[in-house]
C-alpha cells in the first residue's frame, strides 16, 4: 500500500493553507490603508510595530483613523464574514439544499424585526443590537418549536423556517408602515440594507463572543459534520446521534446569524456565495470546507466593506456590493467548474 493513500482526506496542501491564512491578512492590510483618508503602507507597519513597544513616528491623526475607526470595523467584517459563511455552509449541508442560506430558518428576519422595532421606539444603538439579537434567537426557537413535532424531518424544519421568516418579514413591513416617514423610516430602511458603519468596540463586545463560540464548536465538529447530508436512517446506522448533532448545528449557525445581523444588519450573499466557492475548490469534505469558508468569508467581507466605504463620498450599503461583486464572480466560477453539489 502506498504511503500517500493514508493522508487524511480533506487535508490542505501547504500552499493552500498559506494562501487561505494570508488572504484575510492581506485584505485587512488593504482595508487599513484604503479609504477617504489614505494611509501609506509604511505608516501602517510603523503603527502596528508601535503596539509591540517599538518607537516609530506616526501622526496622531493616523493613529486615530487606524485604531479607532478602521480597526474595529475590520474586526467586525472578519468575524461577520467568517460567521455568515460558516452558517451558510452548515445550513446547506444540513438541509442537503444548495439554496440554503443563513436566513433559511427565519433568523435574519427575526433580527431585522427586533432592530426595526427598537428603531421605531427611538432606542440607542446598543439597545437596537440587543433587541435584534433577542428577536433573532426568538425566531430560531419558534422555527424549532413549529418544525420539530412528531414525524418531523429536515423538510418540515425548512418549511417552518420559511413560515416564521415571512411572518417576521410581515412584521417588519408593519413597523415600517407605522414608522414616521421623516425620521424613523429612513433609518430603518438604511439599517435593513446592512452596513458596518456602526462598528465600535462596544458593538463587537456584544456580538462577537456568540459568533466566535459558534464557529469554534462547528470547527471542532468538522469531521462529524460530514454525516449531515446523509438520510436519517444512514446517519443513525453509523452510530451517530443525528438529532443531537442537528440541534447543535442549528443552534450554532442560528446564533452566529442572529449575532451578525444584530451588529451590521442583514448582509446577503456571503452565506450563499462563499461556501459554494469553497465547495467548488475544496470539495464537500467539511474537514477542509469549513476552515476554507472561514478564511475566505472573512477576507471577502473585509474587501467588500472597504469598497463600500471607499468608492463614493457617501457610504454604500454593503449588501448592494456583495451582490454586485459576488454575482459575476460566482457565475464565472460556476461555469468554469461545471456547478456544484452538496
Amino acid at each position: 500500500m502506498k504511503k500517500n493513500t493514508l493522508v487524511q482526506p480533506g487535508r490542505f496542501r501547504l500552499w493552500e493553507l498559506l494562501l487561505l491564512i494570508l488572504f484575510p491578512v492581506i485584505c485587512s492590510f488593504i482595508a487599513l490603508a484604503a479609504g477617504r483618508f489614505s494611509v501609506p503602507p509604511a505608516d501602517i507597519i510603523h503603527s502596528v510595530l508601535n503596539k509591540f513597544s517599538f518607537d516609530f513616528q506616526v501622526s496622531q491623526q493616523t493613529e486615530l483613523v487606524l485604531w479607532t475607526m478602521r480597526f474595529p470595523r475590520i474586526l467586525m467584517a472578519l468575524v461577520v464574514g467568517a460567521g455568515l459563511s460558516v452558517a451558510g455552509c452548515i445550513f446547506q449541508s444540513l438541509f442537503s439544499n444548495p439554496l440554503a442560506t443563513p436566513d433559511t430558518l427565519g433568523v435574519a428576519s427575526g433580527s431585522s424585526f427586533g432592530a426595526a422595532l427598537a428603531l421605531l421606539f427611538g432606542a440607542n444603538l446598543i439597545l437596537v443590537q440587543a433587541s435584534a439579537l433577542a428577536f433573532g434567537l426568538c425566531a430560531m426557537a419558534l422555527t424549532w418549536l413549529s418544525g420539530s413535532g412528531k414525524n418531523s424531518s429536515k423538510v418540515s424544519i425548512v418549511l417552518a423556517g420559511i413560515v416564521i421568516g415571512s411572518l417576521f418579514s410581515a412584521l417588519v413591513s408593519f413597523v415600517k408602515f407605522a414608522a414616521d416617514t421623516e425620521s424613523q423610516l429612513p433609518s430603518i430602511t438604511y439599517w435593513l440594507m446592512g452596513s458596518l458603519s456602526s462598528a465600535g468596540y462596544n458593538t463587537l463586545a456584544m456580538g462577537c463572543p456568540l459568533i466566535i463560540i459558534g464557529i469554534a464548536v462547528l470547527f471542532l465538529l468538522r469531521w462529524r459534520l460530514n454525516s449531515l447530508p446523509l438520510s436519517d436512517d444512514e446517519a443513525a446506522s453509523l452510530g451517530i446521534n443525528v438529532k443531537a448533532l442537528r440541534i447543535i448545528c442549528i443552534l450554532c449557525a442560528s446564533s452566529i446569524t442572529a449575532a451578525s445581523v444584530s451588529m451590521c444588519g442583514p448582509v446577503g450573499w456571503i452565506g450563499l456565495l462563499i461556501p459554494h466557492i469553497c465547495r467548488m475548490k475544496f470539495g464537500s469534505n467539511h474537514v477542509s470546507l469549513l476552515p476554507a469558508s472561514i478564511f475566505t468569508g472573512a477576507g471577502f467581507m473585509v474587501l467588500v466593506d472597504t469598497a463600500a466605504r471607499s468608492i463614493s463620498a457617501a457610504e454604500l450599503p454593503v449588501s448592494i456590493l456583495t451582490a454586485m461583486l459576488g454575482a459575476p464572480f460566482f457565475i464565472i466560477l460556476m461555469r468554469k467548474s461545471g456547478g456544484w453539489t452538496i
Binding site: M1, T5, L6, Q8, P9, G10, S96, L220, L221, R222, W223, R224, N226, S227, P229, L230, S231, D232, D233, E234, A236, S237, L238, G239, I240, N241, R279, G283, S284, N285, V287, W340, T341, I342
Partner: protein
Amino acid sequence: MMIKIDKGCFSYKNSSRQILQDVSFSASSGDVLAILGPNGAGKTTLLRCTMGLLKWTSGKSLLDETDFRSISAKELWKDLSYVPQAKQVSSAYTVREMVLLGRSSEIGLFSLPSKEDLLKTDAVMEKLDLLKISSAKCSEISGGELQMVLIARALVSDPKILILDEPESNLDFKNQLLVLDTITELASEGVCCIFNTHYPSHALRRANKTLMLSPGGRHIFGNTREVITEENIRDIFGVHAVIGDIESEEKIFQDVVAVGLKKKASDPAPNKLPQSAVATVSVILSGTSMASEVNRIFHEYSKYIIGRMGMPYKEADVHIINLILHAPVTEIRTLTDKLNLLPGISVKTTYGKEMYQDR
C-alpha cells in the same frame, strides 16, 4: 452472534392497516437470510424495524438474547451495519470520504479519523476493488459502483451482522453478480448477512434461510428450499411460477420463472407439487480432497438411500459416484445444493417420472 426477531408487529400510527404481523425469524453467523416479497409487502419496513430505526408496535429485536432497546446505539452499531438502497444517496463526497464515514462510531465527536481508521478504510476498499475510484465523487460514479461503496462503508466497522436493503435491484447482470458474490463471500467469513429482494431466484441461489412476506402481513420463514416453492410463490407473489434447473457444463442451477398471473384468489395450482420421488445424483469429484466431506453429507441422508456406487478413475484423477435415493423432493434438492457448494465437484440430479405421496 445471533439476531432474532420475536413476534414483531408494526402498523403506522393513525392507520388501522397492520403492515407486519407477528413476524419471527432468526439468523446467526455465516447465515445468509433473504427477505423475499413483492413490492409493498413491507420488506424495507421489516428491515427498519429489525434495526430499531422504526419502533415495533409490539414484539422485539434480540441480539444474542439481549433486547436491542437495552443496548446503547454506539455499541449496537458496532456489531450491526446497514447498507441502504443506492438510489437514495446523492452527495459529492469522494469514495474514500464516504467509506471513511462508516468508522463514525469509532471516532470521537470532536476528533478526526485516526491512522488506524484510514488503514482500515483502505484495506476494505482494496478488498472490494474500490481503490481505483477512491477519489471519484460519489455523485459521479455508476449505480453498481455506488452500491459497492455503500457496502464498503458498512464493512469498515467490522460488523458481525450486515443488513442490506435491496442491494441488487437496479443493477445490471454483472453488478448483481458482483454484489451477490460479495454477500456469499462475507457469509463464508462468518458475517451474518440479511438482504431484501424481490427476486426469488436470488434468494434461491444465495440464501440458506428465507423469510417470505406477503402484502397481507402473512409470512413464511425457514430453510430456503422449504420456503421457496411453486406453491408459496403462487400464494404470495400471485403468479404461477416454475422452479426449474438450468444446466451449465458442470453444475445445475435452480431458477424461478414466472409463467403467468394468478387470476382469482381461489385459482388452484396447475399441478400439485409431488412430495416424493426417486432420483439419481451423479457426482464427479476432481481429486480426493473432498471425498470425506461428500461421504459425510451422504451419511446425513442414509435413510433415503436405496443404492450407491462409486469408482475411482485414476488416469484422470477423478472419482465418480452415483447415488440413488427415494426421498421427499425438497430433501433431494437440499442435498444437491449442499454438494454444489463444495469446490472441485460436478453434480447433477435426475428425477424419475413417477411421483409418489410422502413415504
